[in-house]
Symmetry: C2
Subunit: 181 residues, 2 copies
């Protein structure tokens, strides 16, 4: 769901950084967008739409942000929707009892955790992150949500890197991407 | 500046987790507070007061959040104040040119980074984090702000662990702590 206004906003405020984090990768740096109040407010409004029905009513019980850049977007989206914020974190960061899911990276694997009492059975949650790349983080987060007995309502991201086919890792999860590259 | 309403809120929604991240430490887990919409909104309002004058006008040009829990609070505070959000991150996470400051931990050291073009000379910034402990993170962040030629207006935190004397590491920086333990 690319919209023209987000396309212009991202052209102006998302910076391409070549060879980060490694040679050959063009990193999409969103920090200039976050530093622009109007731009940041616009993307929060845009992402929050994924948690509302057509009448504008909030249809989710919580918003999940994935560490670390996802926190920056998910927390304001939760406040905008009138629901709580729940962090999914890297291994060893959450202090209480957790569920864990590991997933493959290009080299090795990563583990994400969610407090096992963070969501109640039957709750519907919106996942928010900055970028959908291969979909590994999002798919692991959906698994964590389901371990709590809750349901992933959808995923909202600033940017979908469609050439990495992350959408294929997400089954039929609803995806809102403000910009598709 | 402990206020009775925050004291009651924190008693109800901040969870003590013993022996995390290591034996003998009582960790203050703020995730139940973040998951409570009204509680989260109240602490964002409370922190944002540190960026306003007595007439309610915003007196800072940006809000800095320190990775990772600081992001969850600082991003909504920036939006509430009508200014941009700037992340201070752990070493190697920011893609463009950075300033770096290292500081001592109990064992070893940590390095924090700030994009060198993230703040303009003369700007005033509010630092936001969840907890003021020894003050190492906050003092390093003040140094990063000053390397950009900007000024730290103050630090706003949910909790000050006063027995760790973090305030002593901050010279005369204005500190707003919603709860002092």
């Amino acid at each position: 769901m690319t919209r023209p206004d987000f396309e212009a906003l991202f052209e102006r405020l998302v910076r391409d950084v070549p060879d980060f984090p490694k040679p050959g990768v063009m990193f999409k740096d969103i920090t200039p967008l976050l530093a622009d109040h109007d731009g940041f407010a616009a993307v929060v409004d845009g992402l929050a739409a994924a948690g509302r029905d057509e009448a504008g009513n909030t249809v989710v019980d919580a918003v999940i942000g994935m560490e670390a850049r996802g926190f920056i977007l998910a927390a304001p989206v939760a406040l905008a929707l009138g629901v709580g914020f729940v962090p999914v974190r890297k291994s060893g960061k959450l202090p209480s009892a957790t569920y864990s899911v590991s997933y493959a990276l290009e080299y090795g694997e990563a583990t994400l955790e969610l407090h096992s009492d963070a969501l109640k059975p039957g709750e519907r949650v919106l996942l928010v992150d900055d970028v959908l790349a291969t979909g590994g983080t999002a798919a692991a987060t959906v698994q964590l949500v389901e371990l709590c007995g809750a349901t992933a309502h959808g995923l909202a991201v600033l940017m979908e890197l469609s050439f990495l086919h992350g959408r294929d890792a997400l089954d039929d999860l609803d995806l809102l991407a403000l910009r598709t590259l």
